[in-house]
């Protein structure tokens, strides 16, 4: 992975840039101490690190605008940052860029249960949005696994999903409006607490634009009444393709669970060793969660059981209590932690048509053997969003590069199967150079023209999303 060489002229002006930012913002909002800046040298793609020129942590939209205006005037690049949980390096800094963090923008601005929306500052964490409304029986639906830490601003930047988006959709389907500050420091309101703002859907293109079009400081989010209850069932299978076929049959039957999660043997074994969830000894398992009143849950689980029985399950374990539900989810929710204990891993995020699951899983197994690197699969099976985890040893020279090559092969396989490089993590720097696998030059050109409109000088998060050679002429 390469980053463009830093702009020497900017580096030599560091003191002047920091002074200008301090003049435009309250003193404590600007960080330039090298030790403190280390906190911003990477996000959750921690294999790559680079301390930024400076970091600013504004407390208001006006301060965000002042910071951006100052940087624009001086021609300084800006990398927006939510909570720094990006798995694709979306908020990875460069030496000549200022990090603009929204972590201090955390207030709830308005809650309207009658009209089912909440308006929050964008640095607020995902889970604390639900926290603000759950006493009244509501929740915010998108639930990325990092929801305890990740910020709404980052969720909007990456159009984050989660386990429950099979029923409720991803961020873009739950986002009603934003306050956006452009690189020029202009504050713009898009959408609001009503449907479809009319005109071109700028809100739709902001969501998932990886912080390249503007900085979101406030968001109006749809909140939903919580269902009466939810209950999972765990089903073990003798082979991954059988589990895949069972998923297709459930979807075909017209049952719409809120989540269908998949884990294969390497992943099951790792989580067993880590947290002892007591999962069955099998090649693959599904965790399927349904919602509703007790009788509705029973009816849906009965239908799922009927379908599962046609696929010779090794075991069917229906939860009958809150404690059993927690136990069924325990292994799935610990999967990434369990992998972390086993060594270094890289988490992929390709999405494929559900019908291609058996073929893609088989081929990943073959590639894993060819490269001599273990791959564990844990993913959202209902919508085909795969998360192959490649295990490697970062301390062994050449292993990171080998792992990245295997990752690139698996993602190329996803695209060839009719899918895409990223289902919910974003492109960032991680998949930037694979974009030409999925897109023709004209497709990338059309996307870059959108950035030209919002950020004509390409100062905002510029070395992300597009292959460096593709964006070279625009980045200046």
């Amino acid at each position: 992975m390469q980053m463009p060489p830093p702009d020497r002229a900017i580096l030599s002006r560091k003191a002047e840039i920091v002074a200008r930012l301090r003049a435009a913002l309250p003193g404590e909002a600007v960080i330039d101490d090298p030790v403190e800046l280390r906190a911003y040298e990477c996000d959750a793609l921690s294999a790559y690190r680079c301390p930024p020129l400076a970091a600013v942590l504004p407390r208001t939209t006006a301060e965000v605008a002042a910071a951006l205006r100052t940087c624009a005037e001086m021609g300084v690049k800006v990398v927006p940052r939510g909570a720094g949980t990006s798995l694709s390096g979306g908020s990875m800094p460069s030496e000549d860029a200022v990090i603009l963090g929204v972590a201090r923008l955390t207030r709830v601005l308005e809650v309207d249960y009658d009209n089912r929306f909440i308006r929050v500052e964008a640095g607020r964490t995902n889970l604390s949005v639900t926290g603000a409304v759950e006493a009244e029986g509501f929740f915010y639906a998108p639930d990325p696994s990092s929801q305890l830490a990740c910020a709404i601003a980052g969720n909007i930047g990456m159009n984050s999903g989660g386990a429950h988006c099979l029923k409720y959709g991803v961020t873009t389907n739950n986002l009603l409006g934003v306050t956006l500050v452009t690189m020029q420091g202009e504050v713009i309101g898009l959408g609001g607490p009503f449907c479809d703002a009319g005109g071109l859907d700028l809100l739709g293109v902001i969501c998932g634009s990886e912080g390249q079009l503007g900085v979101v400081t406030e968001a109006t989010l749809r909140i939903l009444p919580k269902p009466e209850g939810a209950r999972p069932v765990l089903i073990g299978f003798a082979a991954s393709d059988i589990a895949g076929a069972c998923v297709a049959d459930i979807i075909r039957a017209g049952i719409l669970p809120v989540a269908i999660e998949f884990m294969d043997r390497p992943c099951i074994e790792a989580t067993e060793a880590f947290c002892g969830a007591g999962y069955p000894d099998c090649e693959a398992l599904l965790i399927i969660e349904v919602e509703g009143a007790p009788a509705e849950i029973d009816e849906q689980l009965r239908l799922i059981r009927e379908i599962a029985l046609r696929h010779d399950p090794v075991e069917i374990r229906e939860s009958r209590s809150e404690a059993e539900s927690k136990r069924i989810w325990l292994g799935r929710k610990s999967a990434f932690g369990a992998m972390g204990v086993m060594g270094d891993y890289m988490c992929l995020d390709g999405t494929i048509p559900v019908s291609a699951l058996p073929m893609v899983l088989r081929r990943i197994g073959e590639l894993s053997a060819e490269y001599g690197l273990r791959v564990a699969n844990v993913f959202h099976a209902g919508d085909g969003n795969m998360h192959p985890l490649i295990l490697y040893n970062a301390n062994q020279p050449g292993q990171l590069e080998l792992c990245e090559r295997l990752g690139a092969e698996i993602l190329t396989l996803c695209v060839e199967a009719g899918g895409c490089l990223s289902g919910e993590h974003g492109v960032g720097i991680e998949k930037r150079d694979l974009m030409t696998v999925q897109f023709a030059p004209a497709d990338l050109e059309a996307q870059m023209r959108v950035k030209d409109v919002f950020d004509p000088r390409w100062l905002l998060n510029p070395a992300k999303v597009f292959p460096l050679e593709t964006s070279a002429g625009r980045r200046g």
């Binding site: 449907c195 005109g199 700028l202 974003g426």
Partner: protein, 365 residues
């Protein structure tokens, strides 16, 4: 059939041919699907997408459909119905309506607040931009954050950024049962309160509307026992708003929601039809201020109303957050005027995708 003269109409049969026509275009063209949603202005050359028709891929087990843009909506609906599936967003539409028109206008129906609009089900597009370049975005999978979401930008762009050629949709299984809880005889205001209470309940309603004379309508869909259970609970929960009647006859349930979607009570009335999108709690206020015939959908979040021809309904609604579209008629701009910075961004985007300004010029600003 097309009412424009043959001389003034082009009908490409392939995407390449369409791209060639746009590159060769000497002046403005009017992009037309079925011509059912917006009447073309006189004098513009018509670019008819009806020749770009056909199903490209239908995978019921993956809930995925890919079609060419000129494919008639009716053909798609019949294909899906045979597999007991549907487009989640209830596009509606007159005979002749095409999938391209559905997407270009971001069509949606009563399920908007629960299942989204066309933009939410559209997962991939191919289009020819105003330069005559073929562009693809999105794909055929349900979750995709690879690059910018131009799919959303194209949905509802009314042909001003490019001519859609191929569309991928995520589908929904048709639930085995549907019923409607009716609170007869309620005023818009009383109905609004009942609808909002229903939408804030845990009973997953998929429709919440009001028609004068009929009353408040709340739709519940799902497995049969579950529908019965939820209707019962809703009737109890809404008792303070009025006595409930539960309609279970499938044909009558379908007809109620078709009528609401088409704003049937307004047919034959005088005035120009407006669609006004606001906070649900403002819906009854909109109905009262406009004073004429109206229906409410989305729990009050969408008001379709007749307002005197030539007059601007927006003048009565300036203090309510939302937007108003003049569906048919004169005396006001079709689309709600945007704040200056938003209008500037939209104009700049149109200039990027259609630098000569030849695609449906003036339609969106």
């Amino acid at each position: 059939m097309s009412q424009t003269t043959v001389a003034a109409s082009s009908r490409p049969g392939t995407e390449d041919e369409l791209a060639g026509m746009i590159r060769a275009a000497k002046g403005p063209v009017w992009v037309r699907g079925g011509g059912t949603r917006i009447v073309p202005p006189a004098g513009l050359e018509v670019l008819d997408t009806g020749g770009l028709s056909g199903i490209v891929l239908y995978e019921p087990a993956a809930l995925t459909l890919v079609v060419r843009a000129g494919t008639p909506l009716a053909e798609v609906e019949a294909l899906l119905a045979a597999e007991n599936q549907r487009l989640p967003f209830e596009p509606g539409g007159a005979p002749g309506s095409t999938m391209g028109g559905v997407a270009a206008t971001n069509a949606c129906g009563p399920r908007r607040f629960q299942a989204g609009a066309c933009r939410d089900a559209l997962i991939g597009v191919r289009f020819v931009d105003g330069r005559g370049t073929v562009v693809k975005n999105g794909g055929r999978v349900m979750k995709n954050v690879t690059g910018y979401d131009l799919v959303k930008l194209l949905a509802g762009s009314h042909g001003t950024l490019g001519v859609l050629t191929e569309l991928a949709f995520k589908l929904q299984p048709v639930p085995p049962a549907a019923a409607t809880v009716i609170l007869p005889g309620l005023s818009a205001k009383a109905a609004g309160a009942a609808l909002r209470a229903a939408m804030s309940s845990p009973y997953d309603v998929t429709g919440a509307g009001w028609m004068p004379g009929t009353g408040a309508l709340i739709r519940v869909e799902g497995l049969a026992e579950s529908v019965d259970y939820r209707c019962g609970r809703l009737a109890v929960a809404l008792a303070p708003h009025g006595a409930a009647v539960v309609e279970r006859d499938p044909a009558r349930v379908t007809a109620l929601w078709r009528d609401l979607r088409a704003a049937a009570p307004l047919a034959g009335g005088t005035g120009a039809p407006w669609r006004i999108s606001v906070r649900p709690s403002d819906g009854p206020e909109v109905v009262e201020r406009l004073g004429g015939e109206a229906v409410m959908d989305w729990g009050g979040g969408l008001v379709t109303a007749l307002y005197p021809e030539g007059a601007d309904a927006r003048a009565r609604l300036t203090d309510l957050p939302g937007h108003a579209t003049l569906v048919r008629g004169t005396g006001a701009a079709r689309f709600h005027p945007e704040p200056a910075p938003v209008a500037a961004l939209s104009a700049a985007l149109r200039a990027q995708f259609d630098p000569r300004g030849i695609l449906n010029p003036g339609l969106m600003g």
